[in-house]
C-alpha cells in the first residue's frame, strides 16, 4: 500500500480528524477495536477525502461535495412508529413481513425490533456497540478483514468512527424463512453524522435474505456512512437488498463488502432514489470455486441529485460467475454514475462475468457517466460489458397514446418497464411488488 502524505487539507477534511479526536474516548470497543480505529484514522489522515483525480472517484468528488462535518448523532429517543416507516419507505415496503430491526443513530431500538424472533430462529445477534466491548472471534475477524483492504477511505472512516449497527451470524445450515429487515432511520431534528457498521456472517450452508432500508425522519441534513461486510462460508447464500429513500439534504455513503466461499451465492440488489449525493459501493471477492454473484438495481434521480454506483468483482479463483445489471432513470439536472470493475486473476480460469448498465435520460441536462473496467489475467474466460443511454422512444410513446393512455401515464409506463427489467433479479414476489410500488410512487403514478 502506498500511503502518500497529504499536503493540504480542506476544512472538512480537518474537521473529520477533529471529530475523531473529540469523540475517540467515547467510541465503543475494547483495546483491539481502539487499535483498529487508530490505524484507520491514520489511513484517512494520509489520504484525505477522495476527489476526482482518484480514479475510483473520478465522477464523484467527495472533497468538493462535503463542506461541513456535523457532529456524531447521539442516541435519540425520537418517536418512531408505523407512520414514520410508511412516510419514509412507502406502505408496501414498510409492511414487508420480516424480522425487523430498527436503528436510530445506529442504535438498535429494541422496542421496535424483533430481536427475540431472530434469536428464537437460531441467529446469533447483537447490537454492534455492545459487541465491540468484547468482540467474539468471528466479529473481530470480519473487522480485521475490512481494515486490511486499506486504501478505501470510506471504509477507513467507518472503522474509525463506527458507533452503531448490528452483528449477525447465521450458524451452519440455518435457513431463515423470513427476511431480516435492517431499517436505518435518522435526521429527526439536527444535522448529524451517522457511522454504522453491520457485520453479517453466514456459516456453511446457511441462507437468508437481508434487507437494508435507509430513510429520514423529518428533513435534517444527515451525513451517513454505512458499511456492511458479508462473509459467506461454503454453500451459503445471502440475498442482500437495499432501498435508499433519504431526504434530499442527505449525503449517503455506503459500502457492501462480500467475501464469497466455494459454491456460495451472494446476490445484491439496490434501489436508490433519495439523497443529494449517494455513493453505493459493492465489492465482491470470490474466495472459493463455483461461487456466483448477481449485483443489480436501479437509480431514480431528478433535480440536482448525484448517484454513484461503483462495483468491484474480484475473481480470484476459477469457475465463478458474476452478473451485473443496473438501470438508471435520470431527469432534470441529475447525474448518474456507474463504474463496474471486474478483475480476473491469472488462476481464475472458466470465469464467467457479465456487466450491463443502461440509462434513460428524461431531460437534455441529465448526465450519465459509465466506466466499465475489465482486468483479465486468465486466458480461458467469458467476460463482457455494455453500457447504453437513450431517451424515451417516441414511437413506443405514440403507440401507447394511440391506445388511449394520456402522455404522462404512457411515459410512466415506459419508464417502469425500463426499470422493471432490473427488478427481475428479485425472486421474492412481495419484495418485488414493494419495489415496483416505491418506483411507481417516484414516477407519480399509483401502482396497479
Amino acid at each position: 500500500m502506498d500511503l502518500s502524505v497529504q499536503q493540504f487539507r480542506s476544512e472538512a477534511e480537518q474537521a473529520l480528524l477533529d471529530l475523531y479526536e473529540r469523540s475517540v474516548d467515547a467510541l465503543p470497543g475494547d483495546a483491539s477495536v481502539a487499535d483498529l480505529r487508530q490505524s484507520a484514522i491514520r489511513t484517512y489522515a494520509g489520504l484525505g477525502l477522495p476527489h476526482r483525480r482518484i480514479e475510483a472517484w473520478k465522477y464523484t468528488d467527495l472533497r468538493a461535495a462535503i463542506a461541513e462535518i456535523p457532529p456524531l448523532l447521539a442516541e435519540s429517543d425520537a418517536p418512531v412508529d408505523g407512520t414514520a416507516f410508511e412516510a419514509a419507505f412507502g406502505k408496501a415496503f414498510a409492511q414487508l413481513p420480516a424480522y425487523r430491526v430498527v436503528l436510530v443513530a445506529g442504535a438498535v431500538r429494541t422496542e421496535l425490533s424483533d430481536v427475540q424472533g431472530l434469536r428464537d430462529a437460531g441467529v446469533e445477534f447483537g447490537a454492534l456497540a455492545q459487541m465491540l466491548e468484547s468482540p467474539p472471534e468471528w466479529l473481530m475477524a470480519s473487522l480485521d478483514a475490512a481494515s486490511a483492504s486499506g486504501d478505501d477511505v470510506l471504509i477507513a472512516l467507518n472503522t474509525a468512527l463506527m458507533t452503531g449497527g448490528v452483528a449477525l451470524r447465521l450458524p451452519e445450515g440455518l435457513t431463515l424463512q423470513k427476511p431480516v429487515h435492517l431499517i436505518h432511520l435518522d435526521g429527526a431534528d439536527t444535522p448529524g453524522s451517522v457511522y454504522t457498521r453491520n457485520v453479517l456472517v453466514a456459516g456453511e450452508g446457511a441462507s437468508a435474505t437481508v434487507l437494508e432500508s435507509f430513510g429520514t425522519l423529518g428533513r435534517a441534513g444527515v451525513q451517513r456512512n454505512a458499511v456492511t461486510t458479508v462473509s459467506l462460508a461454503a454453500k451459503s447464500a445471502i440475498h442482500h437488498i437495499k432501498l435508499q429513500r433519504e431526504a434530499l439534504e442527505t449525503i449517503h455513503l455506503n459500502a457492501w463488502v462480500a467475501n464469497v466461499g466455494a459454491d456460495a451465492r451472494y446476490d445484491a440488489f439496490q434501489v436508490s432514489m433519495g439523497a443529494a449525493l449517494a455513493r453505493n459501493q459493492v465489492s465482491v471477492r470470490f474466495a472459493g470455486k463455483d461461487a456466483a454473484t448477481d449485483i443489480s438495481g436501479a437509480t431514480l434521480a431528478r433535480g440536482k441529485q448525484h448517484c454513484d454506483t461503483t462495483l468491484v468483482v474480484e475473481h480470484d479463483v476459477p469457475a465463478c460467475e458474476s452478473r451485473e445489471l443496473f438501470k438508471l432513470v435520470l431527469d432534470d439536472e441529475s447525474r448518474g454514475v456507474f463504474q463496474g470493475k471486474i478483475v480476473v486473476a491469472r488462476d481464475a480460469q472458466k470465469t464467467d462475468g457479465k456487466q450491463m448498465s443502461q440509462a434513460l435520460l428524461l431531460s437534455e441536462t441529465a448526465e450519465f457517466d459509465s466506466k466499465p473496467e475489465l482486468e483479465i489475467y486468465a486466458d480461458d474466460v467469458v467476460c463482457g460489458h455494455g453500457a447504453t443511454s437513450g431517451q424515451i422512444d417516441e414511437d413506443l410513446l405514440f403507440y401507447l397514446r394511440a391506445r388511449g393512455l394520456p402522455e404522462a401515464q404512457a411515459r410512466a409506463l415506459l419508464i417502469q418497464a425500463f426499470v422493471g427489467e432490473a427488478f427481475e433479479a428479485l425472486d421474492d414476489e412481495a419484495i418485488g411488488d414493494a419495489f415496483a410500488a416505491v418506483s411507481a410512487e417516484w414516477l407519480g403514478s399509483p401502482a396497479e
Binding site: 394511440a402 391506445r403 388511449g404 394520456p406 409506463l413
Partner: protein, 251 residues
C-alpha cells in the same frame, strides 16, 4: 361520420398528402389501395395523430369535431383506432397490464366506469378466444417474441376491447398466412356495425376477399385518384398500379 377535406400533410419537409378528400358514412367500410409511396400509411398516421406528421392544409372532421385539434389519446377516447402495420414491442410491460391500462384510460375519458378485475378478465377471455389468442400469450411482455400473426391478432383484440367508432387498418394483411388472415378478417367483420365505420388500407386485393368493402379508393401521389365499388379492387389486381404512377409495377 368521417369527413376529410383537401388534406395536405408533410413528413420531414416532404409533401406526402396533396389535397386528399374522403368521406365515410356510418356503417360503411372503405378500402384505400395504392402503390407504395402513394401516402396510404401517412394518412393512417395523420388520422391517429403521430407527432412528426405535419398537416399544412385541409380538415378532418370526426362526428362533427375537429379531429386534428386532438391529442392522440383524445382521438382514441373519441373512438379512433389505428391497427398498426408494425405493432410495437414493449419489453417489461405485460400485455394484460397494457390492455387493462388502455381500456380503463379510454373508459375513464368517455365518462364510463372502469372495469373491475374479474369483469375485465372475463371480457378479455371471451374476445381472445374468438381470435384464437392463448391467455398465456397475454401474460408475456407486449408483442415481444410474438409472431407476425400473433401481433396482428393482438391488434384486433385491442380494437374490439376499445370499442372504437372508426377502425383504421394499416396493411393488416402484411406478413399473414392464409389461416391467420382468415382469423383476423373474421375478427374485423365481427366488429362491422351501423354505428361504426372502417378504413382498410392495403396494397393487395386479397384482404378484400375477406373484408368486403362498400367503396374502394385508389390513392396516387397523395390524393384519391379514383373511387368505385368492390369491383375496382379486382380490376386493380389484374392491371396493377401502372396507371397510378407506380414505377416498380410499370417496369
Amino acid at each position: 361520420m368521417l369527413e376529410i377535406k383537401n388534406l395536405h400533410a408533410k413528413v420531414d419537409g416532404r409533401e406526402i398528402l396533396n389535397g386528399l378528400d374522403l368521406t365515410i358514412p356510418a356503417g360503411e367500410v372503405h378500402a384505400i389501395m395504392g402503390p407504395n409511396g402513394s401516402g396510404k400509411s401517412t394518412l393512417s398516421y395523420v388520422l391517429a395523430g403521430k407527432d412528426d406528421y405535419e398537416v399544412t392544409d385541409g380538415s378532418v372532421t370526426w362526428k362533427g369535431e375537429d379531429l386534428l385539434a386532438m391529442e392522440p389519446d383524445e382521438r382514441a377516447a373519441a373512438g379512433v383506432f389505428l391497427a398498426f402495420q408494425y405493432p410495437m414491442e414493449i419489453p417489461g410491460v405485460a400485455t394484460m397490464t397494457f390492455l387493462r391500462s388502455a381500456v380503463n384510460a379510454v373508459r375513464k375519458a368517455r365518462g364510463e366506469e372502469e372495469y373491475s378485475t374479474p369483469d375485465f378478465l372475463r371480457t378479455v377471455k371471451e374476445k381472445a378466444k374468438d381470435l384464437k389468442i392463448d391467455m398465456e400469450m397475454l401474460r408475456r411482455p407486449l408483442n415481444v417474441g410474438f409472431s407476425g400473426g400473433e401481433k396482428k391478432r393482438n391488434e384486433i383484440l385491442q380494437m374490439s376491447l376499445l370499442e372504437p367508432g372508426l377502425c383504421i387498418l394499416d396493411e393488416t394483411d402484411s406478413g399473414l398466412d392464409i389461416d391467420a388472415l382468415r382469423i383476423v378478417a373474421d375478427g374485423v367483420n365481427a366488429l362491422r356495425s351501423p354505428e361504426r365505420c372502417m378504413l382498410v388500407i392495403t396494397h393487395y386485393q386479397r384482404l378484400l376477399n375477406h373484408i368486403v368493402p362498400d367503396r374502394v379508393h385508389v390513392l396516387s401521389k397523395g390524393r384519391v385518384a379514383r373511387s368505385g365499388g368492390p369491383e375496382l379492387a379486382l380490376e386493380l389486381e389484374k392491371s396493377g398500379y401502372a396507371d397510378y404512377g407506380d414505377e416498380a409495377t410499370a417496369a
